[in-house]
């Protein structure tokens, strides 16, 4: 297999020079679209994501309405040109699963009972993908929801931790390293990925998936690291929203 790729060096530096608990570079901009009620552009390493929120508005078709509260419909979509091998346009099984778990996570945070029968539509468009798009998308969605003025208990944020470097040339486990925010090759050749989303004020976990192989101790480390990542990104989200409001004030 390709496990002879050395994902981490003797000094604990990763392929792209990051430390074990270091995030890729993240840039967030709020309010980037004219038509949407709220929007966000986010770059996270090589990922480029736009999120747009419409609503609250009447849920259509009617039979999708909940008479007691709003429904939150996230739609995760990858551009055909976002990946090395062109992706066929339209939703596939992976994107439909991501849309589902993202919708569920966001619904926990939005004060849906304020808007019976309404829909809050969250469109996440991945323009370029490079490991971690579901976290990037949910994080952008959090900012876009706040930008749209949707009442929430918190601004949701996502980040992943994972494990790399545990296979020797025979594919045997040799320890490995729990690291924050897997990059592309770490994701392809690593041993485990644990994307989570949290409500940063309470620390509650609203999204959690895991692929790979982790001991219980490694899981605990990874979860702690991912929560740490979420908290760092949460600050970047708030800065982006602040910057937008300041710009708004300057213009006025």
């Amino acid at each position: 297999m390709e496990s002879d790729i050395k994902l981490i060096d003797a000094d604990g530096k990763r392929l792209d020079g990051r430390k074990i608990d270091e995030l890729r570079k993240i840039k967030i901009e709020a309010g980037v679209l004219h038509r949407a009620d709220g929007s966000c552009y986010l770059e996270w390493g090589g990922n480029k994501v736009v999120a747009a929120v419409y609503g609250p508005r009447e849920a259509i078709p009617r039979h999708s309405q909940n008479p007691l509260k709003a429904i939150v419909r996230a739609r995760y979509n990858m551009a055909a040109f976002s990946v090395e091998d062109r992706k066929r346009p339209g939703p596939d099984r992976r994107s439909r699963e991501i849309s589902k778990v993202t919708s569920e996570a966001l619904e926990k945070i939005v004060l849906t009972d304020k808007f019976p029968r309404a829909a809050i539509d969250v469109n996440i468009e991945v323009l370029e993908a490079e490991a971690g798009t579901r976290c990037a998308g949910l994080t952008a969605a959090g900012v876009a929801l706040a930008d749209a003025g949707i009442p929430m208990t918190d601004i949701p944020v996502a980040c992943a931790a994972g494990k790399i470097g545990s296979n020797d040339e025979n594919g045997k486990k040799t320890g490995g390293h729990v690291v924050l925010d897997l990059g592309k090759r770490e994701d392809n050749f690593g041993d485990a990925d644990l994307p989570i989303a949290i409500s940063p004020r309470t620390g509650e976990i609203i999204l959690l998936q895991m692929d790979g192989h982790l001991t219980l101790e490694e899981f605990d480390q990874a979860l702690t690291l991912a929560i740490k990542g979420c908290n760092i990104i949460s600050e970047i989200q708030k800065d982006a929203l602040l910057e937008k409001y300041q710009k708004g004030l300057e213009v006025d």
Binding site: M1, E97, K100, T202, E204, I205, M210, F219, D220
Partner: protein, 260 residues
């Protein structure tokens, strides 16, 4: 939530707060599990699993195909689940919906990440010919906890699958090369209570759901949180612990059923 379900919710919650359940089970105990294999002679492997009244049939078909360019020496798994209208008044026919897709993907992930099927032994001719393993899961009767029933049925079918080499003029049939399976255990949460292996009634009031697949080393191989509720870190650690315990028992039952 309708009035009926709000009454049911209060009733089940009050039971659970006192460590009790509708059917007398402990909070972290599974319903009775039965596993039958080799039901379908046309299939390369097959199994019917019942967890309580929930009933799932899984069948494996294999075919010779081309490998993906990026894994030229590796077989291919493809997993599909049908939420058959047979199984529930709420399931509809038609293309698979979000629920069926999530189910298939979670089962697939549990199988894939645990490496239970040794894909590198399913190469016939590098870059040219590999075995494709089709795992098809039919929900026959739905009384809660499809994730574990589907996953267990898939595993029982996999562990009893014969590679149909003869049909493709590739020598004698032989058992599908397999390794240690990861056992999937699903729990749900309502209010602050956690319970394992939810029945349908319990699922209907659940706020959050989590599935943990663990292997025989006690390691975690796949997880999936679902529904709109949240978990604390401590709850997740508790769930992993309980899933491991149940996993040990279910693995034992699985091995007995497939004669290993």
């Amino acid at each position: 939530m309708t009035i009926t379900s709000s009454i049911k919710r209060d009733y089940l919650y009050n039971l659970a707060k006192n460590g009790k359940r509708q059917d007398g089970r402990d909070l972290f105990k599974f319903r009775n599990i039965t596993i039958e294999t080799d039901l379908i002679s046309k299939a390369e492997g097959s199994a019917r699993v019942k967890i309580g009244n929930t009933q799932v049939v899984a069948g494996i078909k294999m075919n010779v195909g081309e490998p993906y360019p990026d894994t030229p020496n590796s077989g291919v798994i493809t997993t599909a689940a049908e939420l058959n209208p047979l199984a529930s008044p709420d399931f509809e026919s038609g293309p698979p919906r979000e629920d069926a897709i999530e189910l298939a993907r979670v089962v697939d992930r549990g199988i894939r990440e645990s490496g239970v099927i040794e894909l590198d032994k399913l190469c016939i001719e590098p870059k040219e010919k590999i075995w494709i393993v089709f795992i098809d899961i039919h929900i026959i009767d739905y009384d809660g906890n499809l994730f574990d029933a589907a996953s267990l049925a898939a595993l029982a079918a996999i562990l009893t699958t014969k590679v149909p080499a003869k049909r493709f003029d590739l020598g004698e049939d032989y058992p599908l090369p397999v390794k240690d399976p990861a056992i999937s255990c699903t729990s749900v949460k309502f209010n602050d209570v956690l319970i394992m292996d939810p029945s349908l009634d319990e699922e209907e009031i659940a706020e959050a759901r989590i599935t943990v697949a663990t292997d025989s080393n006690g390691d975690i191989r796949a997880m999936q949180k679902g529904l709109k509720g949240s978990y604390t870190v401590d709850e997740i650690k508790k769930i992993i612990k309980v899933s491991l315990d149940n996993g040990v028992e279910i693995r034992k039952k699985l091995f007995e059923s497939v004669g290993k």
